[in-house]
Symmetry: C2
């Protein structure tokens, strides 16, 4: 009967102090309404007295659920993801779920390691923001999952994001309405569904406006240096362009700097528009005109759909789109002359 070295109180300790069984302690804690008020009070008092806190491992083992959801993203430092994360957290917290963040860094080995959390029971479901479908066999069949932002073609998971084609269409229309005709588009990275959708929206808007002769596509990417290269390309090859629609804000900033180095003034000589409305878009000079995505709501909605899956309720399949809007700031003006 020697004392255990680890003194963390357990249900047994609480039961002893409260004068009830461990089953009753568990019930009072998990389903307070199915025990008598007297019992409930006694148990709660015993919990404070002992400083009891449930042992999550035991609970997970017994329930066969971790109460954790895995958020898979390519780069946690990318400001695009932080607001989505907040939305996810809000809903998860309300549902008493913990969030585990898996940062792939674009590395497939890391991605595989992260997915392991679903196989070993550390997480019950996943929110996939990295745009890459889990390789076959890496996920137990029927694992609840939702893809965010990028669609995961050929996958059964529901998807939440922005209607990118529509948003790109609206952005291009916006430039046309400012009087621009020679409008270029700097795309995102190849083999990305976002890139395709935004490019399609741009092409569609140009075509519908009878400007198909002015379509100018430049291969880009989502980082600053991609924008710099694109700006250089633009200055060299299409110097008479009056407006550029970029696939995201960061590349738009690179385009602007590069254009400035080539002697252009933005927006006086050339207008530049981004996509995302990251926090820095307001601080950058010129303040960036861009497409705002409802990132917080996207995160919330995705988490809600995952929750429905976890609870075996019917859930929406296919894509859910949240509203976007154009944010007018200073990087776009009418064409000169």
């Amino acid at each position: 009967m020697t004392k255990k070295s680890n003194n963390r109180p357990t249900v047994r300790d609480v039961a002893r102090v409260a004068g009830v069984s461990t089953a009753t302690v568990s019930r009072a804690l998990q389903s307070p309404d199915i025990v008598s008020k007297k019992t409930r009070d006694a148990v709660f008092a015993a919990v404070s007295e002992t400083g009891y806190s449930v042992n999550t491992a035991a609970q997970m083992l017994r329930r066969n659920r971790s109460g954790t959801i895995l958020v898979i993203l390519p780069d946690i430092s990318n400001p695009f993801f932080s607001k989505i994360l907040s939305g996810i957290e809000e809903v998860a917290t309300r549902a008493n779920l913990t969030i585990l963040i898996g940062n792939t860094n674009g590395d497939s080995t890391r991605y595989a390691n992260i997915l392991e959390n679903l196989r070993n029971g550390r997480a019950d479901g996943a929110l996939i923001l990295n745009g890459e479908a889990p390789p076959d066999g890496m996920l137990p069949e029927g694992t609840p999952a939702v893809s965010i932002s990028e669609r995961l073609d050929g996958t059964p998971y529901p998807h939440v994001g922005t209607d990118n084609e529509r948003a790109a269409f609206d952005a291009t229309r916006y430039l046309i309405e400012q009087g621009h005709r020679k409008i270029a588009h700097v795309t995102g990275p190849q083999d990305n569904t976002l890139t395709k959708d935004r490019r399609d929206g741009y092409v569609k808007a140009m075509t519908e406006a009878g400007l198909s002769d002015h379509i100018r596509l430049i291969d880009g990417g989502f980082v600053y240096s991609d924008g710099e290269h694109a700006g250089h390309h633009l200055a060299k090859n299409w110097p008479d362009t009056t407006a550029v629609f970029c696939a995201n804000d960061e590349s738009a900033m690179g385009v602007i700097r590069s254009l400035q180095q080539h002697g252009y003034s933005v927006p006086d000589d050339i207008s530049v528009m981004g996509f995302d409305d990251v926090p820095f878009a307001r601080i950058f000079q010129p303040e960036l005109t861009t497409v705002h995505q409802a990132r917080n709501l996207i995160g919330q909605r995705a988490m809600e759909i995952l929750l429905e899956q976890l609870e075996k309720k019917p859930f929406s399949t296919g894509s859910v789109y949240l509203d976007h809007r154009i944010v007018s700031r200073n990087s776009v003006a009418g064409p000169r002359n």
Copy 2:
């Protein structure tokens, strides 16, 4: 003998396939070198055949360890933290430890909820980046923890960061060496150890250079709008200032924009220097001269010290400082005339 509904293979399944006991399966997986090669091979083959993955909950319960460490920070979207996080992750991954991120958002209720992960066994130790000591009783005694960046005065936890007083001293010296005399300092938020240390370093450098008459302190903070206010204050009250040292990069950007709105040119009329070297410092115009902190190394070192605590090895107490350096860019020049 009905089939269980949940088909995840267990050690029993692996044991049956490999023709050994569950104890041996566990040994082959956890300490491959203490079983015979023949057994090891049989177990590994059985693992692939069955698609076995350890049940983390059972493992945690049995070992009384979660293999997870908790990283507590105020704001995950703050770029200052992301590189520190990478450093932490690198070391944690090498040690086969999972990271759980707790985002307090400066909310003490959330902070308390996050600390609960240490009491319920979901995490074995903590890395504290939010500058706030856990309230008494919120952490089981002897919980391994390390504070990062901000010191936690009155706390037994080791600390890893930058020697802020020294770094601020160096930054101020740098401005003095460029020929500046009337140098202002925009501080961080009150009641923050970083603020105190950086202010002290500034005052010390000014005093040592015989410039104590030119000490100009402006209460600031770590966000953009704090900088804007400070810039306004500066323009109104000390218009002949030729250089400003700001407590961080974000506030330095606010100071610059605000000064520009007051008609100053940076750095021609006035030089502005930041602190941190966040990623955006290179994109901002003018590119920001600042103090680089070894954020990745700070994260690594902190995780290493936490690891030593977890393994009950002796570990360094007190503060560990990693080297900082001045990064010269375009927001600082010599004084006009």
